[in-house]
């Protein structure tokens, strides 16, 4: 439990930012989704590095990893709508494992030994791994290194919007591009940032 404090605080910190999502949550069906969304962001997303590591080990076709990850997420999310699993981690990995087995079966590939290899990966299913604690502590540092790895133009746009707080027209003017292009840069930037931020395991060994 103590290791969760960091991330829990982190979440309540960020959720104070009003970016429309909270407002959106206030309405009907969205309000019901709110709890599941919060749970998903808090419990599941921090496990994404471990999940991807597991999927990559079990499924050799890199181009399908993101799709596989999406399938796993959908199943976990829908299950959580009905009832929150006792252990998010254990549940996530059992779904992931079944998804890989399913997919192998359909593709007539036998990858069972890879699938069974959880322990060897250092992914402990029962106990919380370093992920959550590490997320809280190294959040900012990882965020920055993710930012540094973005393609130049995308990063520029994101920095102007998020750090300097410029408006879209201002960014367009500064970068000498159309507002539409600024929007595209921002959208690409946030997608790339999320894939780097969530997809990259924090320092191996959890130092």
């Amino acid at each position: 439990m103590p290791s969760n404090n960091g991330i829990v605080r982190g979440m309540s910190d960020t959720s104070e930012t009003s970016h429309g999502w909270n407002e959106a949550d206030g309405r009907g069906a969205m309000a019901a989704a709110r709890n599941v969304n919060d749970w998903f962001v808090r419990e599941i997303l921090p496990l994404e590095p471990s999940l991807l590591k597991f999927l990559r080990r079990s499924w050799r076709n890199e181009s399908e990893i993101r799709d596989l990850c999406q399938d796993v997420y959908v199943e976990v999310y829908e299950a959580a709508r009905v009832e929150f699993p006792k252990s998010a981690r254990a549940f996530l990995f059992s779904v992931a494992r079944n998804a890989v087995i399913d997919k192998s079966r359909r593709a007539h590939i036998v990858a069972i030994e890879a699938v069974a290899d959880l322990e060897a990966l250092g992914v402990s299913v029962d106990e919380p791994g370093p992920d959550q604690a590490v997320m809280g502590r190294q959040d900012l540092r990882r965020l920055q290194s993710a930012l540094d790895r973005l393609p130049e133009r995308w990063r520029e746009a994101l920095v102007m919007r998020k750090i300097e707080g410029l408006t879209r027209p201002q960014i367009a003017q500064r970068m000498g591009i159309a507002e539409r292009t600024v929007s595209q840069h921002l959208a690409s930037a946030i997608v790339a940032l999320s894939n780097i931020f969530y997809g990259d395991p924090p320092d191996e060994g959890g130092k």
């Binding site: 009003s18 999502w21 969205m30 993101r66 750090i163």
Partner: protein, 325 residues
């Protein structure tokens, strides 16, 4: 071998990204919101991609605390320090009287008590609840206590706070236009005109601006070093090693590690009425690793002369370090 209705994760992500950005723009109408709601309702995959990117988008707000090149741990601090040394040394030093800590013990009304240290002095205040405040050189702070709140105003200088967290009594430190609210904490705060630095050693604390200029308070975590200068907020991380160095003054020590001479001098100047000036850029950038007592400016000068091959001259009341021709 894809199911007929399965969605490509990349496409879903790209669409979610477009929604996030669209929603961020100024002309976001109710119709837009309805369109977003419909998109979200169309598929769980949409919803997940959206909340994932939304979380990222909000997290990116923490980047506000970063400058693009704040990678060097103390980048901003260093620049600031060398800026200070370059300024004409302040001639008249304000030597404020130290007021005894005994005044603390009977705080019945929220009256304000002023505590100050002279240049070169160091003082520890112990509060009845076990909290402790260390005042470094040339520091002035005001303290007021009421039943449910302790307010410290750091007018200038540097103080180290070790707060015994009490949920019934809020501990708030004001400096300039910002305030730090403790949530069970040890932190270091340095305040100068237009410049505030907060370093969190342990626990957690929140920084915001009482006048509401900051939309989102910043939550500090141990090792976070936050600098507010010219309304720009920068956060960097400091290693525990580095933190120990910065707290050296509590033991009466200044600890430097590959610190440019300009910054070394700026540190000594904080503890002395007599100011040292570095004359040229080459000398200013010589790195020095050493530790001295806070009043050890003379031994520093001796060492600099002997080891760093620089000239040390008296010029009026100041001491000037320059390149040896």
């Amino acid at each position: 071998m894809r199911e007929p209705f399965s969605l490509r994760a990349d496409d879903v992500q790209a669409e979610a990204g477009a929604w996030i950005t669209r929603r961020d723009s100024t002309e976001w109408s109710n119709a837009d919101q309805a369109a977003l709601d419909a998109w979200l309702a169309a598929s769980t995959a949409h919803m997940i991609a959206f909340i994932r990117l939304d979380d990222m988008w909000k997290r990116a707000d923490r980047l506000k605390a970063l400058k693009p090149n704040a990678r060097q741990r103390t980048g901003l601090m260093r620049r600031f320090a060398s800026g200070t040394f370059a300024m004409k040394a302040v001639a008249a030093a304000v030597v404020a009287a130290c007021i005894g800590a005994a005044a603390f013990l009977t705080p019945l009304r929220p009256t304000e008590t002023v505590y100050a240290t002279a240049i070169g002095a160091h003082k520890a205040l112990k509060l009845p609840d076990g909290s402790r405040i260390d005042l470094n050189t040339d520091t002035t702070l005001r303290l007021s206590r009421s039943a449910n709140r302790v307010t410290v105003t750091l007018d200038k200088g540097e103080a180290f706070f070790q707060i015994k967290h009490d949920p019934r009594r809020l501990f708030v430190v004001l400096a300039g236009r910002h305030r730090v609210i403790d949530i069970g904490t040890e932190f270091l705060m340095r305040s100068q005109p237009n410049h505030l630095e907060v370093t969190l050693i342990s626990g957690s604390a929140r920084l915001d601006a009482p006048d509401g200029r900051m939309q989102t308070p910043i939550l500090l975590r141990p090792g976070d070093d936050l600098t507010v200068a010219n309304n720009l907020i920068t956060t960097t991380r400091k290693s525990s090693h580095r933190l120990a160095e910065e707290l050296g003054w509590r033991r009466g020590m200044l600890i430097f590690e590959a610190t440019p001479l300009a910054d070394v001098v700026a540190e000594f100047n904080r503890y002395s009425v007599r100011k040292i000036v570095v004359a040229d850029r080459v000398t200013a950038s010589i790195p020095l690793s050493a530790s001295f007592p806070t009043d050890g400016a003379d031994s520093f000068l001796e060492l600099a002369k002997a080891m760093l091959k620089v000239r040390v001259d008296r010029r009026g009341d100041d001491i000037v370090i320059s390149q040896r021709k």
